[in-house]
Amino acid sequence: MIELAPTHKYGLSLPTPVMPAAGVFGYGDVYRDLLEEGVLGALVTNPISLRPRNVAQGQRILTRGEQVLLHTGLPNAGAKAILRQYGKYWERSPVPVIPHLVATTPAETSKAAVLLSAARGVGGIELGLAENVSEDKAVELLHAAQDSGLPLIVQVPFSRVDALAPRLVEAGADALTLTAPPRAVLPLPDAPEDKAESGTRLMRGRLYGPAVFPLLLNVLARFAAPGANQLHVPIIACGGVASPADALTCISLGAAAVQVDVLVWRTPGVLREIAAAFKAL
């Protein structure tokens, strides 16, 4: 068992330290035919906001080599509708469900966190912050999400770890997901060069793929590695983890658990392989 909220009154124990990253696994059982129940340590859901959000317009996904750029706008049906649709499944889930809550305003964040926490099966909440959130606002949002009373994990924006991570821990985060995907820009494929340079045919989004993994290891080496851990809360490693060996490297650098992102779509079985590697330790 892995404990992700050792100082929280309820704690958040996972049978194995592997889980999908927010945004790659839906809200429940879409992979039921490919992954047996109980392979995961926890189910981290797709983003959930208090109000429904529509999908982004225009191009939403772009690949370049092995890298994937994604911009969906975090579409979701809103906390109430998602609870109606998936609450029963969460209740039966053999592993803790961790809804990924999109931080909007403190009032909405609090309301959504309280709603989600009422569902049986929910073991904790992962709070997703906007890349440009101020430190004070991040703390305010964290306090709002703590209204759920459940263990709170905060997913820290990639470019803001230095500024935000210590503040969030000080403010009471039970664990941190390091990190949210880096923001990136790619030219759209059929863009003439001159247009790409003028910025009119570019796609902005979240970057996934193997190039992110060394960046993740750098963050872990600085913030989680034994002897360097300035944060003193469990760290969940997220970004480009592609194999059991990658996952074990994260653990050796001080991570308590790992999240697997878009690789799940190509190779859902990678979650099983990583879980098996942890079991064999």
């Binding site: 696994f25 035919d33 529509n54 999908v55 080599g65 190509r266 190779t267």
Partner: protein, 253 residues
Amino acid sequence: MKQQTATFRFALPSPPHWAVRLDVAQPPRAGQYVLAECGGPLREALFPADVDADGFTALTPRGHPITRLLPGASVDLLGPLGNGFRLDRVQRLLLIAEADKLSVLRPLLNAAPAVTLVVEGPTRARMPAPDSLPPAVELLLVTLDGSVGYLGPLESQEPAPAGQERIGPLLAELIAWTEWLCLACRRERYPALAGLVRQARLQPTAHFAQALVHTEMPCGVGACDVCRIPTRHGEKHVCTDGPVFDLLEIGNE
């Protein structure tokens, strides 16, 4: 959803595409798809252009990663996925496609005793070769430059210049004549095409007009939200709720 292993048989030029043959125990039906692992960061969606009991043929663009496999290679597939075309004891079938999307309708060319196929493309050179179609299929061509057949676009209400003709009046007759209508066009065309259906048929039954939506589908299972589209009943996933939708459901934006 299944995960199955297919055997890659061949990839042959079939201008302007490449024809790729996969043998697999459970091939996708018309309008369904599989997600094939081809070595890239994401799986590739393959729609059948021809299906039989042993597998299917897909038409892919030139340079598609699957065309680089060697005959006999194993291909990991997710699927069949999604909802395909649903036709029930059909006698008269109307198919409408943009030329570069025609391949997904090809499995339906023999689905009824009377099939009329309307293909719209930019110019004559992009039209399907008549000998690539079953002889019984009635083929009507629409070109945007008027180089062959009717002058496009399909839904145009503008009067045609002298010496040319629009397909509008005939299309209305065909929509009134057919029992089912299947379409493969860009999604932004569907509202106007839905308008044509509403004009030509007073109360079309549910799924009378079935439209295949093309979009990126990285996961195929409703996990990633990349493929969401607006419909009359809120946003839906193309990968699991489609890719074939009731035209009147999605043609209302």
